[in-house]
Amino acid sequence: MDVKIGLECHAQLLTQSKLFCSCSTDYHNAEPNTHVCATCLGLPGALPVVNERAIRYGIKVALALGCTIQPKVIFYRKNYYYPDLPRGFQITQYEFPIAFNGLVRIESDGGKEREIRIKRVHMEEDPGRLVYRGTIDTATYSLVDYNRSGIPLVEIVTEPDLKSPKEARIFLGKLRSILEYLGVFEGDLEGAMRVDANISLKGGERAEVKNISSYKGVEKALSFEITRQKNLLRRGLTVQQETRHYDETRGVTLSLRTKEFEHDYRYFPEPDLVPIRISNRIEEIRREIPELPDEKKLRFIAQYSLTMEHANALTFDRHIADFYEVVASKIDPKLSATWIADVLKGELNYRSISMREASKRISPDDFVAMLRYLKKGVITERGATEIIREMLDSGGKPEEILRSKGLASIGSDEIEKAIHAVIKENEAAVKDYKAGKKEALNFLVGQVMKHTRGTADPKEVRAMLTRKIDGEI
């Protein structure tokens, strides 16, 4: 089935103050309507003043996406009535955005490289937020919180180059990665990235799904849409051009309005702001762009002899990449790669925390210390994993955990003792093994490990066990 998907991604920029006033952007844990002023509340007479830093961030994003920067930026008014929009219009961009024509490379299904074209990049202000008592269906009224009103957003619009919901999710992940590398975005903040998706199937009109506010939601919403549109086409019905709303909790899209009820936004240039010339700042900003994920990946492969898989895993998140590089500078880079990409990342995913958060508990030096114990044989692989978990959960230092949990690996004497005990206690299993049942050995190894509380090296245990039992034959 021929599917075309285009995304409009709205990312909150990490400036200190809002796009058109000096209110703080640090609203996530604030009481409602405490980070507001005359300008972001749209009080009559209050005027916007452009936050220069936000424009710089916007240009940075556009450059990182390979766009052509425009010489001047003009803000427009997008007029529509909604309670979260205090002026009755949103200040955004229209004919003169920051940039056009960029490109993002993604690794699609099966590692195939695909190029997704970026149509345009522009800046706009975030509206406020509606808060419902109960759910959107059952609430009898809604409350408005304007703390978010005026937060700078960069909107990144793709061409309809994405071919599947999964590709859309991969693209968003890549975009998030690039934005985080630039230091202008923090993807794990609630509502940091919101997406509108345009989707059409061959033979049908395009539907726009609005208000998708999670990375996973994009894939779900689009899959739902494809099924819905397929069903319509299969029954010989037409897919209407319409705007749909994504209901995150139910995982469905609902019709918001059809084509004839589309808003006429009556765009016109914002008369309270003047055009901003940016051409003279582009080179300076270009120099501030750090190494981006793709470049870093190639360098990791070359510099540390990593596999493509490890390099991908380590460079996706800037915080992980930085962590890795510090660790790799102090101890075997390949060992570091295995333990960070395979073990640490797994533990982070299991706990749904980001490396940024985790780095408050695990420092690269802690990680190096842990790997040194492992290399010297002080701890087993299992002990190493135990230390990582313990650091993440309660934040101790490796040497403390080693001591308090008794994780130091034991010598062969003690293993010998444990083997002796296990053989005695499990005569049946020993008999099975001797009779040719190889699986019985695994059971016995497990029993020895249990006896030694994981402090023994399982390879050594296996070798000693076979020697012992086979020797008896």
């Binding site: 005359a38 509340l41 749209g42 009080l43 009559p44 007479g45 209050a46 005027l47 916007p48 003043v49 452009v50 008014r77 007029n79 009535y81 909604y82 309670p83 205090p86 002026r87 009755g88 219009f89 009224y141 408005v144 006429d264 009556r266 765009y267 016109f268 008369p271 309270d272 702001l273 003047v274």
Partner: protein, 481 residues
């Protein structure tokens, strides 16, 4: 009536009691039939006046340029703690939590806010008859309008209900009432005075400006309100402050005013005079000949694009207004009536109840002009015409130092006479609106009377040359009987 300069001198020297002055003014307001004010600031004003009397000798107070001067502020300008309605029902009860930059500047220099003056609702009108709070009357004839939209400010200055006043001028709203009430009113160059705190009607056209009974007071007030302000991105941050220092040179009396305009050239665009009533035309020519007597020369010119000015002006103004006024939905401030229902029903009801007829007319027309399919035909075309008109003014002002013409084509008309015919009201704005399109500075100064009703002379200058304009007006003022 005393001038602002005399008030400042008198208070500083102890010859005038600020409190008594304020009490006199409030007594006059309270007895008045003019309806100049929507909201009075009496309690705070009298308290501040007492403070001024008490501390007038302190160094900090002696430095204040408007010490103790009563100033009336148009109700389109935000005043912290004082109700600001823009003469609309929809903003009834709205008390801004901040001062407009110009109001903060006034307070810093020791001025005292008398109250908020009446106006056409959201500045939409030229007679002060569209106010939700009823019309203001012309002090020269109570059956006539004071002009608008800053009619309350002009009538208050003219009737001694304040010493100075601030107005705002989108298409003549300072100059028209100045002309009808016989006072001086100046619309600065676009970008000269901060608009922060001015409730927007048409952002790209309007400016706050001074209204006073003399040219010197006008210059003094302009100096105060033109302070630079980072909160208004459209304010042009120029170094040249020549305009505003000018009044002090006159005060020092070191200049020979007659000499100042010798050799000045005046352009008289014939299209700006053609539609005027005979008595207005005569008075304006008399004024031009007076300038000739004083050593200036004049030449008649033609500005052919003037005929497109009104259409261009009203499309731009209404388009911007339709967007500016979208914020008034009753959700955060202002009028909130009846039972809250769903969003669309509630805000639609509040807006239908809160806005007057003229405001609704302009919102609807502006919405139409910005709509898909019409934007290019109306709004963009209006912007192109605006550029042509601006070029034409700039061209004329290359040849001539200033331009002279009637402010309004006729004297103040009767209350109710034109309000039912909006088109005839729009047509009367042609001389003033073209100046706003061009963005150049302009003032209106009294130049005669007809049957007891004042006539205004409009002078137009080059961008940011308010000083030349004030100089020319001052010389004229000093030399008429």
């Amino acid at each position: 009536m005393v001038t602002a300069l005399e008030v400042v001198e008198g208070i500083k020297s102890g010859n005038i009691s600020c409190e008594e002055l304020l009490l006199q003014i409030y007594e006059r307001i309270e007895r008045s039939e003019l309806n100049c004010f929507i909201t009075l600031n009496k309690e705070a004003a009298v308290r501040e006046a007492r403070e001024v009397d008490k501390r007038r000798e302190e160094e900090e107070y002696r430095r204040k340029k408007l010490l103790g001067v009563p100033v009336a502020v148009k109700d389109s300008i935000s005043t912290r703690g004082i109700q600001t309605t823009c003469a609309s029902k929809i903003l009834t009860g709205y008390v801004p939590p901040f001062d407009a930059t110009v109001v903060a500047a006034l307070k810093k220099e020791g001025a005292i806010i008398v109250g908020k003056t009446n106006m056409d609702e959201f500045c939409m009108g030229s007679s002060t008859e569209t106010s939700y709070y009823g019309p203001t009357k012309n002090p020269h004839d109570l059956t006539r309008v004071p002009g608008g939209s800053s009619g309350g400010s002009a009538a208050a200055v003219s009737a001694g209900e304040t010493i100075l006043a601030l107005g705002s001028d989108t298409g003549g709203s300072i100059r028209c009432p100045a002309s009808f009430c016989g006072i001086v009113g100046l619309k600065p160059t676009y970008g000269f005075v901060s608009r922060y705190g001015l409730i927007a009607y048409a952002n790209s056209l309007e400016q706050i400006g001074p209204m006073a009974s003399t040219v010197t007071d006008t210059a003094l007030l302009l100096e105060i309100v033109s302070a630079k302000d980072e909160q208004d991105s459209t304010q042009i941050k120029i170094q040249n402050n020549a305009s505003t220092n000018y009044c002090f040179s006159w005060l020092n009396g070191t200049r020979n005013e007659r000499e100042e305009i010798k050799g000045m050239t005046i352009g008289v665009p014939k299209e700006f005079i053609e539609g005027s009533s005979p008595e207005v035309e005569r008075s304006v020519w008399d004024a031009i000949h007076k300038y000739e007597d004083l050593g200036a020369t004049y030449g008649e010119i033609s500005m052919r694009n003037l005929k497109y000015a009104l259409a261009s002006y009203y499309i731009i103004a209404m388009s911007e207004a339709s967007s500016n006024l979208a914020r008034f939905d009753g959700l955060r401030y202002g009028l909130r009536t009846g039972k809250d229902e769903d969003w669309h029903t509630t805000f639609s009801r509040i807006r239908s109840e809160g806005f007057g007829e003229e405001v609704k007319r302009r919102i609807i027309l502006g919405t139409y002009a910005l709509s898909a399919g019409y934007y290019g035909k109306y709004y963009l075309k209006a912007l192109k015409v605006r550029t042509l008109i601006k070029n034409e003014f700039e061209e004329a002002l290359k040849t001539y130092d200033i331009l002279a013409m009637p402010t309004m084509p006729f004297v103040a008309f009767k209350l109710g006479e034109r309000i039912k015919d909006p088109l005839s009201l729009y047509l009367a704005d042609v001389n003033t609106v073209s100046v706003n399109l061009a963005g150049v500075p302009s003032l209106s100064i009294p130049c005669g009377v007809s049957h007891g009703l004042p006539i205004g002379l409009q002078l137009v200058g080059k961008h940011f040359e308010e000083d030349e304009l004030l100089k020319a007006a001052f010389v004229y003022e000093q030399n008429i009987p």
